[in-house]
């Protein structure tokens, strides 16, 4: 698999819903099992390129599980099984080399997880393991700037990443993911442990990033989805109940479950 094949726009009518941008990432009839437990039921969803797509729903609804199948990090858990397809630029991710896939589809986790290394080495890590040739220093600076963290850390790049605050650590993890220039960035409740100010910074960051990559964000926080997302999908009990533009989901949802959740009647 090469980067060269990546930019071909795909026909966007497949998912049956109007999508203004070409679909970057598509799930087709996706089922997911933890052992015998079926966690995802027949999910079909198309993520438009250079847009922010939010996945919302109550705890345990499968939205994180779904996100984790997109870069196959779900495979790190034993005894799991996937049925159906995930297509990245119309290429089935289940058949491509997994390390190359993860280089193209970056991920930021719920809890910031910087490595026990210096700030510099954290950002450089992805570049190093992918055999990056060129100036690490420039690449690290560029990534930290993209993550709006450069000004805060430029004088302490050799300090341990653990010396940073929680919000800074999460932006460091975003910088680390951006360093390898992913085409898609998956974020799994990236702000759940952050205060409103750090959250606002990350949301601002997402807006600036969407020109350069496609973003899928799982969030517990409905206001956050309403603020940042172009499209929103609502998950319930392992099913994708409704998927549409954020405006429609929040103002005129077609499904009763969606409306109940949005209006706070459950979950």
């Amino acid at each position: 698999m090469t980067m060269g094949t990546a930019k071909v726009p795909s026909p966007s009518s497949a998912a049956g819903k109007p999508v203004t941008q070409p679909g970057k990432l598509k799930a087709v009839n996706l089922n997911f099992y933890y052992g015998n437990y079926k966690a995802l039921h027949d999910i079909s969803l198309e993520v438009p390129a250079n847009r922010i797509t939010a996945l919302i729903g109550p705890s345990g609804c499968g939205k994180s599980t779904f996100l984790r199948t997109l870069n196959r990090i779900s495979e790190t858990i034993h005894n799991t099984r996937v049925e159906g397809q995930v297509l990245l630029d119309d290429e089935n991710v289940l058949t491509v080399d997994v390390t190359a896939l993860r280089r193209r589809v970056g991920m930021v986790f719920q809890k910031s997880n910087p490595f026990p290394k210096s700030i510099f080495d954290n950002v450089a890590y992805g570049l190093k393991v992918n055999g990056f040739r060129g100036s690490l220093k420039d690449a690290v600076e560029r990534s930290l700037q993209r993550a709006a963290l450069w000004d805060e850390v430029k004088d302490k790049l050799q300090k341990s990443a653990y010396a940073l605050s929680g919000g800074q650590q999460q932006r460091l993890c975003i910088a680390r993911a951006l360093a390898v220039d992913p085409e898609v960035l998956l974020l799994d409740e990236p702000c759940s442990a952050l205060d409103p100010i750090a959250t606002a910074k990350i949301e601002d960051l997402l807006f600036t990033l969407k020109d350069q990559c496609t973003i899928v964000i799982v969030t517990h926080n409905m206001q956050q989805a309403a603020r940042v997302a172009d499209r929103t999908g609502f998950f319930l009990l392992g099913k994708l109940i409704e998927y549409n533009t954020t405006e429609i989901i929040f103002k005129t949802p077609t499904k009763q479950e969606t409306e109940d959740y949005i209006t706070g009647r459950f979950g």
């Binding site: 870069n71 990090i73 790190t76 034993h78 390390t99 190359a100 993860r102 280089r103 970056g106 991920m107 986790f109 809890k111 997880n113 910087p114 490595f115 026990p116 290394k117 890590y125 992805g126 393991v129 992918n130 341990s160 653990y162 993890c173 680390r176 993911a177 390898v180």
Partner: protein, 282 residues
């Protein structure tokens, strides 16, 4: 204060005192041993002890240089053989093992940990000493290495398992292969713990005596090589402590003191390394 409250206070006081006394007994044992060793051993401990060969009973002077060097040789060889095997096995257990096989390995390692060291000695005698037709440092190192493997494997596994899963996922999500993520993230995150476990393991085998009775045996002189009988501190202590000569018995105390101080220093080093904290967020 009601009667019941008073009774509670009394029970509380008694139990607290009891546990305190037992704690003091436990701790004082170490200091008692240490004090006894120093009291009996220091008189024989001089420069000669570290530089001279042992002399026949009755002759004054002499030391245990050959036993000290022999011990270092045997333990170093055992370390060379036991640590890498134990470490890799520990990595396997923590990172790669399927349920059945790693369960079996883990159980076997625990069993091996519990095998009396004298049995390990007989085993080494059967598979090394007999085929080689003689006692040797190699055989001793083999026996001690066997003891070291399960200790290292289990402690390595334990510290690697305590590295949060999110760190592994972070590395994998950046396109690192599994092996790369282990070598560059998980092991570095756990290295203090792993190193501590290794030091404690080496300290433990340094004091083992029983396996050496069948394997490296003893030597009154410098050993002529790894395939020869080789003196060691634990063996020297054993021989001299039960001898009828006063100065030999004193030198046994001295040797015990040297050994104990070595093990204590290793323990302290291990604690210092560990107390600097495992750099992993909880």
């Amino acid at each position: 204060m009601t009667l019941r409250d008073r009774w509670r206070k009394i029970v509380n006081f008694v139990m607290l005192s009891l546990t305190g006394v037992c704690a003091v007994v436990a701790v004082s044992m170490l200091f008692l041993i240490l004090g006894y060793l120093v009291y009996n051993g220091w008189k024989s401990l001089d420069w000669n002890f570290f530089t001279k060969l042992p002399l026949a009973p009755g002759e004054t002077g002499g030391g245990m240089a050959n036993a000290i060097v022999g011990s270092v040789d045997i333990v170093a060889l055992a370390t060379l053989f036991g640590l890498p095997v134990g470490f890799m096995a520990g990595v396997y257990l923590a990172e790669f093992g399927g349920k059945t096989f790693s369960g079996l390995v883990r159980y076997t390692a625990d069993l091996l940990n519990g095998v009396p060291s004298i049995v390990i000695g007989i085993f080494a005698w059967t598979v090394v000493v007999r085929p080689m037709h003689g006692f040797s440092a190699l055989a001793g190192a083999f026996a001690l290495g066997l003891i070291l493997i399960p200790i290292t494997a289990r402690s390595t596994e334990q510290f690697m398992v305590s590295v949060p899963q999110t760190l592994r996922e972070g590395a994998l999500a950046l396109g690192a292969s599994k092996w790369k993520s282990i070598a560059t993230v998980v092991v570095p995150a756990a290295y203090r713990g792993i190193a501590t476990g290794m030091i404690l393991g080496v300290a433990r085998i340094a004091g083992e005596t029983a396996p050496l009775l069948f394997t490296s045996l003893n030597n009154q002189f410098w050993s002529n090589g790894l395939t020869q009988e080789t003196a060691s501190l634990p063996y020297m202590i054993f021989i001299r402590a039960i001898s009828p000569y006063d100065d030999w018995r004193r030198s046994a105390w001295a040797a015990g003191m040297v050994l104990l101080v070595g093990v204590l220093l290793a323990n302290i080093a291990a604690r210092l390394i560990l107390s600097r904290g495992i750099e992993v967020q909880k």
